[in-house]
Amino acid sequence: MRVSLFITCLGDSYFPRAGIAAVKVLERLGCAVDFPAGQTCCGQPMHNNGFAPEARALAARMIRIFAASEHIVTVSGSCASMVREHYPAILADSPDAAAARALAEKTFEFGEFLVNVLKVDLAALGVRWTGRATYHYSCHLRGIGVTTETPRLLRQIEGLELTPLENPEQCCGFGGTFSTKYDQISAAMARDKAAAIRASGAGTVVSSEPGCTMNIAGACRRAGHAVDFKSLPEIIAEGMGLLEPGPPRAGEARP
């Protein structure tokens, strides 16, 4: 099966290890992974802020870059929702309408792709990762109806103790430019999420959403709560022995 990785702009610069892990896991699962070099950003910041022509141009560009791809897998649920939910709508009256729908149909978030396309059972593959983790639920994954896939995969991993997070469905407050335009509201929301993480007692937060991770990890760090943030592909890659278990990174306490 051929898979093209869509790393996303935040993933590329801020969370390369998630992309590396995704490539290694997909290859181990028998996929031929490629990386279309021209990819940049899905255009969600422009779309969300009302810059419609700019968003449409970037959507049309994404369609061209991934035209030859069989499946597109991304490490961000938010960017997946942009392609899946919004591209068909914003390009509905353009010559790219059919291509937008086709792109939407072949684009998947990593965990969703493993469960629904590859139909992977991590327990049968002997994936083992020791530690107590909680899962940060991403609002935009909920928007495209992907709510159970990641927890299901995490429960299949031997040694991983999944502890629940209070109010899992409550937004962490990132919201793209919202985080700086309305920083006091955004930071208050992030603090609530950080407090819930502390209360969960987990040492690791599984968060596959680059934007959320930056926000929540930043709030945890400011609060002096040392906790590790890892994406789902990193947990699985470590559990398959494809990546060395990483040191606590994103949430390490202030020196």
């Binding site: 993933g11 290890r17 992309g19 990386f35 810059f51 909920r142 709030a219 400011r222």
Partner: protein, 496 residues
Amino acid sequence: MTTDSEAASPLDVELPFDLRPRAAKAVRDIQLQQFIGAATIGKDRGRRAAFADTFGDRYDSLRTLAGSIKQHTLDHLDRYLEEFIDNAIAAGVHVHYAVDADAANAICLEIAHRNGCRLCVKSKSMVTEETRLVPALEAAGIETIETDLGEFIIQLDHDAPSHIVTPMIHKDRTSVGRAFTRELGVPYTDDPARLAEIAREHLRGKYRAADLGISGANFLIARTGSIVLCTNEGNGRFCTSAPRIHIAFAGIEKLIPAMDHLPVLLKVLARSSTAQPLTCYTHIITGPRRPDEHDGPEQLHLILLDNGRTDLLREPTRELLRCIRCGACLNACPVYRKIGGHSYGSVYSGPIGAAITPHLLGPANYPDLPHASSLCGACFEACPVKIDLPRQLIQLRKLMVEQRISGSWERAAFRLWAWSLRRAWTYRTASSIQRIALRLLAALDGTPGRGDPYSSRGWLSRGPGMLSRWTRERDFPTPTRRCFRAWWRDHRGGPA
């Protein structure tokens, strides 16, 4: 936030409205955070449970059905309005049409004067908040008493509702006790049962003496000309049956075609707003008192209010008129939970308020509302008539860019950003500059981020430019030393 003074109403705002100072105050108000947080999260859970208990997996089909009933009515509003007016008149209702808030209040005052009304009992109605009817009645010398318990307390405190359904969500019982002592001259108590009793005794006398009753309307039924009113305290029934004149206010979007459609909407309204299977009282009022009846008003007037609604009928905003004012989107909204209703600076708060207020009162007057949302989608998921609120907020943001309400600096920055993303080389260059600059700043800040090049990062506690807002209360992570694309080039070959 709990004011005991005769301060100006939270709705008296300077335009253009700046949301930030109120929001900043609200997020630091520990008491407010506790009241609103506990109440909204509780109501949101209750709503989910109430739907799950009765409808299980069919919840989504129920929302689709409820939404399609409202959408169908709006798609044929001309026809249903005419049908409703004909049938209401046939049932003996005096139907009035008000183009805006002032016109609606003027019609109401004219009816009151013509009939010599001096004392008015009023049930809860958001549309009369929208027209700011009570101050208009009071100014005309008509004593007006809010009879919904929450609204009664709000009125005593010279406050304004901060939630569509739960107007005093931002208050606790001690502030109610203080208001009762100050305004009603009763000994202080904060026992809820005793407070309800005091209010009840006070209101009973008013019902008996009132010559004017004012209500809103939850639904208008075209085929029968009926007004449907949903309440929980029975006050609505008093207001609409005891006084000799009843004036109902309703937005033109309240129509539904026929009685057959009412059960669907009653089911979603009660569950969405208060997690009840049905409100305690559901009144279906068809005309004034008939000759053979004992109760009911001599005259029943209905004021149909436009006030910008026909503008909303134009796409892409028509779906906003499906709203049944259940308040579920407020309860579900993480931003509302943090800032409360008064931070929105207008009658309608929360996601639905953010989406309709700029249309009704001008986007340039409320430039913050469309943007003060993380677009998390919780409102859309909670909406029982499936209004795509995030999409509507994005549409408003688009309108603000097109009308140049967004700042010129912001517009230039986004266009430059978008331009750089349309070419791989400009994207790579911009990413490199960002990486080098932020990592340098982090190194100066004491966290250079040494170690694994693909995961070790520095942290900023004081960011530059726009990031300084991020770092006021959070740290900001820098990019890792190397990006994914560099790894791909080194380990999987090929140009990247």
